[in-house]
Symmetry: C2
Subunit: 368 residues, 2 copies
C-alpha cells in the first residue's frame, strides 16, 4: 500500500469512529445542574456548555485538566495575487513568536490554563530560531510537507496525496498529544498569510454560495485588495472546478496545508470523544470539510466566537453551531478558542463546586 | 444637620466628583495595543476593554490586582402580591450561601480572582449562621436599615430618608473597601426575592416605557404571575406617582434597599475612578438612577452581559452601553459581572504580556 492509500485508510477509520452525542450523560449533567443553588437554567449558556461537554465525552463530570491549543501553520501560493495585507515572511516570524511566547495566543492560552503546540505543516520560509519561553511558549512540531501551497489560480493548491498527508499530520498529532498526558479539550487555531482566501474558496466550493458572500477583509485589506481576493477565488474555482461531493478534492484544489491539518485534528479529536473548540473562520472552514466527510461531526464541536468575516456566519449556520462569544475578534491563532476554553473551565467549576439546595438548606420555588 | 441632610450632602459631593473619561490615557492605551504583534484592532472588543479601562482610571496601564464583587441584599414588600417564584426566606438563605461559598457568585468570583463582599441592607428575616469558607466565602457586612421594604402597591417602598441612607451605605462601603487594600475594579450584584419587580418599576418610572415592555419573568414566573407582576407595578406607579425628575424619589417610591445601595456603590466607585462592572437588569436599573443624577456616569460603567429580561435591553440602550457577553444568564448575584472581570483581566494580560513588532522582529503590513 502506498502512502496516500495508507493516509486515506487511516482517515476512513477515524471517520467511522465518530458517533452521536451521549444523551444519558447529557441528562445526568442537566439533573446535576438543577440541584445547584440557583433557579433552573438561570446560568443560561454556561449550563449548556456543561451539558454539551457531557454529551461529547460521555461523562457528566468530564474533567478539564488537560487543555491543549494546537496552531497549524502553512503558507499560500495565492498570495502572489496580492490578496493579503501582510507578506508571507510573517508566517514563520509568527511561528517563532508562538514559540517565544509573545503572541496573543500565548497570553490567552496561559490565561485559560492551556498549553500551546504549533505545527509547521507547510510554511514557505525557514522558521527563525528563538528560545522557547518556559512558562507559555509553544512547542514546535516540525511536519512540513512543502514550502507552502501552489497558487490555486493556476491549478490545485496541493496534490491529493499531499492534502491527505496533511490531514494525517493532524490525526497523528491528536494521538501523540493523547499519549503525552492526554487532552480533555482541544482548541484549534491557525497561522498562514493568505489563509482567509483559501478558507473562502473552500466555503464557496462546499456550500455553493457566491464568492463575494463568503469573502471578507481578513487581517484588514482595502477595497481594491478585497476585489482582487474575490477575483482570485473565482478564478481558482473556475480553473480547478472542485466537486463538493469530494471534500478532500476541494481541500487539495483550493485549501492549504494548515487547513488540511486542522481537518485531521478536528476529526481525530472527535473520534476520541475530545471536545473540539473551533476558533474563527478558517477553523470553521476546516470543520465544514470534516462535516462533509462525517455529518455526525458537527455536534461534537463548540463554536467559540463569531468573527466579522462574512463567511463565518455562513459556516456556523451550515454546521448548526451557535457561538458563545461575539467580541469582533479577527486574529486567528486560536485566540477565540482560548477564551472559550477559559469559559468552559469556569462552567465546569460551577458544575463541581456550587452547593446544592439540600446541602445549603435553601427553599425551592413557591415556598417549598 | 439631620441624618438625611447629611446623607444628601455626601451624595451631592460624590456626584460632583464624576467627570469625563481621560482621552489622553485612552489614546496612549490604543497606541500601545497597535505596537503588539497582531493586526491593528484584530482583538476587537478585548482591545476596547483595555482602552475603556484607561479612560476610566486615567492610566493606560491601569492595574487589576484588587478585584472586588459587592452583592447588595434586601427584601421587597411587594412579594405579598405573589410576583415571584420564590419566597422571601430565600434571600437570607442565599446570603448565608454567599458567606459559606456555595453560590454561583462564589465560584465565578474565585474563577475571576475577585473577592466577594455581601451587604445586608434590608433583608426581611434573620441571616442563618454559617461558617465562612476561607477560600471563596463572602465577607458579610451588616448594615440593615429595615426588615425589607413596604409593599409599593400600598404606598412608597421606603421613606426618602431611608432611601438616602441606603445609598450612603453604598458610598461608605466603597470608601471602606478602598481603605482595606483598594479596589481596581468593582463588580456589582444583588440578591433580593422580588427585586426584578422593583427594578422594572424604576425603569418604567425613569424612562416612561409601558410597564409590560420592561417587565419579564425574573427567576422564572409563569404567565399568571407575570400578569400579576405587571399589574402590581402599574398599581405602584399609580399609587406613588413618582416624578422622573427626582431620581431619589423614584428610588424611595418603587425601589429597594439593595437597589439604593447599588446606586451608592456605583456612584462612589465612579467618583473614585474605579471601573464599575454592571451585572444584569437590577444593577442596570440602579445605574439608570445614578445616570439620572449624574449624566457623566454612564461612560464609566462596563455592561457585562445582556440578560433575557426585556427591560435590560432598554436600560442598556438608555445608558449607551453595549454588553460584552450574551449568554442568556438571568441569575443576578453579580454572576455576569464576575465573568466580565475575568475577561477584563485577560485583556490586561494581553496589554501587558504580548511582544511588540519591534521586540519580536516581525514584518508589518505590505512587506514593511
Amino acid at each position: 500500500m502506498n502512502a496516500a492509500a495508507e493516509d486515506a485508510g487511516a482517515l476512513a477509520a477515524v471517520i467511522d469512529q465518530i458517533g452521536p452525542l451521549d444523551g444519558a450523560a447529557m441528562a445526568a449533567a442537566a439533573g446535576r445542574l438543577d440541584r445547584l443553588t440557583k433557579p433552573p437554567g438561570s446560568l443560561g449558556r454556561l449550563e449548556e456548555l456543561v451539558i454539551t461537554l457531557a454529551g461529547i465525552t460521555g461523562r457528566p463530570d468530564a474533567p478539564l485538566a488537560h487543555r491543549q491549543i494546537v496552531v497549524a501553520a502553512g503558507d499560500h501560493g495565492v498570495v502572489r495575487q496580492n490578496v493579503s495585507a501582510y507578506p508571507s515572511e510573517v508566517t514563520p516570524q509568527m511561528v517563532s513568536n508562538f514559540v517565544a511566547g509573545g503572541a496573543a495566543i500565548n497570553v490567552l492560552a496561559a490565561a485559560a490554563g492551556a498549553s500551546v503546540t504549533v505545527v509547521d505543516v507547510g510554511v514557505a520560509l525557514p522558521i527563525p530560531r528563538v528560545r522557547r519561553d518556559r512558562r507559555r511558549g509553544g512547542r514546535l512540531v516540525r511536519a512540513r510537507i512543502r514550502n507552502g501551497t501552489a497558487d490555486m489560480t493556476q491549478g490545485p493548491a496541493m496534490s491529493r496525496g499531499d492534502a491527505l498527508h496533511a490531514v494525517n499530520v493532524g490525526l497523528r498529532l491528536v494521538t501523540d498529544l493523547r499519549l503525552r498526558g492526554g487532552i480533555d479539550v482541544l482548541g484549534v487555531g491557525e497561522m498562514g498569510i493568505g489563509n482567509t482566501t483559501a478558507a473562502s474558496a473552500i466555503v464557496a466550493a462546499l456550500t455553493g454560495e457566491p464568492v463575494h458572500r463568503v469573502t471578507g477583509r481578513g487581517t484588514g485589506v482595502d477595497d481594491e485588495a478585497l476585489a482582487r481576493k474575490v477575483a482570485a477565488i473565482e478564478e481558482a474555482l473556475a480553473v480547478n472546478r472542485p466537486d463538493r461531493a469530494d471534500p478532500i478534492g476541494v481541500l487539495a484544489a483550493v485549501g492549504g496545508f494548515e487547513i488540511a491539518t486542522l481537518v485531521g485534528l478536528i476529526l481525530g479529536a472527535a473520534a476520541a470523544r475530545i471536545p473540539v473548540v473551533l476558533d474563527g473562520f478558517i477553523t470553521g472552514a476546516a470543520a465544514l470539510v470534516g462535516a462533509a466527510l462525517q455529518p455526525a461531526l458537527a455536534p461534537r464541536l463548540i463554536a467559540a466566537h463569531r468573527s466579522p468575516e462574512p463567511g463565518h456566519a455562513i459556516v456556523l449556520e451550515r454546521l448548526g453551531l451557535r457561538p458563545y462569544l461575539d467580541l469582533s475578534m479577527r486574529l486567528g491563532e486560536g485566540s477565540g478558542a482560548a477564551l472559550l476554553i477559559g469559559l468552559l473551565a469556569t462552567a465546569c467549576q460551577v458544575r463541581d463546586e456550587m452547593a446544592t439546595f439540600e446541602s445549603a438548606a435553601i427553599s425551592g420555588p413557591s415556598g417549598g
